[in-house]
Symmetry: C2
Subunit: 246 residues, 2 copies
């Protein structure tokens, strides 16, 4: 006979399912503890224990006097330790690029094999959005649109675990932006080939050519890596010249 699960675990699971199924959306506020405990017919401490569990997992966010909310970025449990690592070791972002090279090559390959018409429309939309963001504002916005374009391709691969991992990696990169990544979007000699590569990648996926898609994704990542190395070197040289003047 199976042991009965503790009530707090059952509540945590139910809430997790509601978040996973979209019944509870990022940013949405839960009912007040007393009301929710009453509705679920459990005691408030049991509910609190469940909520604390999910706070700890990064799924919920509770503000004293202000209510409990579904967190906006749900990958925190994966990201936090890596974020600490990136803080300590800025070179780790090249580690991330190496991983992206491997994973996005695969993502593009499987996307070319598996994408549905809906996926393809989504990829096109994200590409247009990304192009539309160029030059008109915050490079952060461009960076976000870029990430969303790439994630649309990962979605089209229909590998849920890969999507989870890639979401975590992109969240990580967005959080650690500060290492000249914006230069990718503001330097014309970089942005133009970057944009062409994005287009080539999209076209390969839309044509359903897996090997071409893989190569396009990997060439793109190699270009990003080399561009960042170069931008780093130029920034280093600029610092050297400033020292000479002072």
């Amino acid at each position: 006979m199976m042991k009965q699960k503790r009530i707090s675990d059952q509540i945590a699971e139910a809430l997790t399912a509601m978040i996973a199924q979209g019944e509870l959306k990022p940013g949405e506020r839960l009912p007040a503890e007393r009301a929710l405990a009453s509705r679920l017919e459990v005691s408030r401490p049991s509910l609190r224990e469940a909520i604390q569990k999910l706070n700890s997992k990064g799924l919920l966010d509770t503000r004293r006097g202000g209510g409990t909310y579904v967190r906006e970025g749900i990958e925190a449990s994966f990201v936090d330790p890596l974020l600490a690592l990136l803080k300590e070791l800025p070179e780790s972002r090249f580690d991330v690029l190496e991983i992206r090279h491997a994973l996005e090559g695969s993502a593009a390959y499987y996307a070319a094999l598996r994408s549905t018409d809906v996926d393809k429309e989504n990829i096109k939309r994200k590409f247009e959005t990304m192009i539309g963001k160029h030059g008109i504002g915050d490079p952060m916005d461009e960076s976000r649109a870029d990430a969303e374009f790439h994630l649309s391709i990962v979605e089209a691969s229909h590998n849920l675990v890969l999507l989870h991992v890639m979401r975590g990696l992109f969240t990580l990169l967005m959080s650690s932006i500060s290492h000249n990544l914006e230069k990718l979007y503001t330097l014309p000699r970089v942005f133009q080939p970057l944009s062409n590569q994005h287009r080539r990648l999209m076209e390969a996926v839309l044509e359903g050519d897996p090997e071409k898609a893989r190569r396009a994704a990997q060439a793109h990542l190699v270009f990003v890596e080399e561009s960042l190395h170069q931008i780093d070197r130029e920034a280093e040289n600029n610092r050297g010249q400033l020292r000479g003047i002072k």
Copy 2:
């Protein structure tokens, strides 16, 4: 003026520090809730909330009537959401294999480029351990030794982010063992080529041939994937036959 942290967070942090500093060792038992709450001069519900947080993070393990223990294996924070996913969708383990295909190909490539003498000795040791475990006991032990062999190659790639991701994926697989994975070690027609592939992978890394290492890693993963598919089909056929008898 900084907001004062909630008491349960302070307790959770203190306990985490004690674990990190070795004051509390894996497997060790905490004092009883009432005693610990009294010692810390907090209420028992506050302490319980802290303990539930750490249970949720995989740092502690609480047994009703039996006490609270420091957990033995500590990578759970990455694993839990994916574990839930794997429970819901057993096919996700093939998603994981697709990712391993991409990541371990890269890991082997960079390991062949970057491994030090220490790395190479470690890889050899893990290989010998894995071979030594074959057939003499629990297939779980073999599975663990297999994971450690692969992780030794990831370590030799000197990509810290990749190591973090791969550790998480292996912990995930170990936790979700139940889908005929042990058959990989107990079926001679599977184990023999598997073992040869492991050897070939190791040799390519030791020779410092990156492309050969990548191909060896990827061939190995393809073989694992196909073997699991086949084992699944046979299990399905066996179930069909049992139905016929009953």
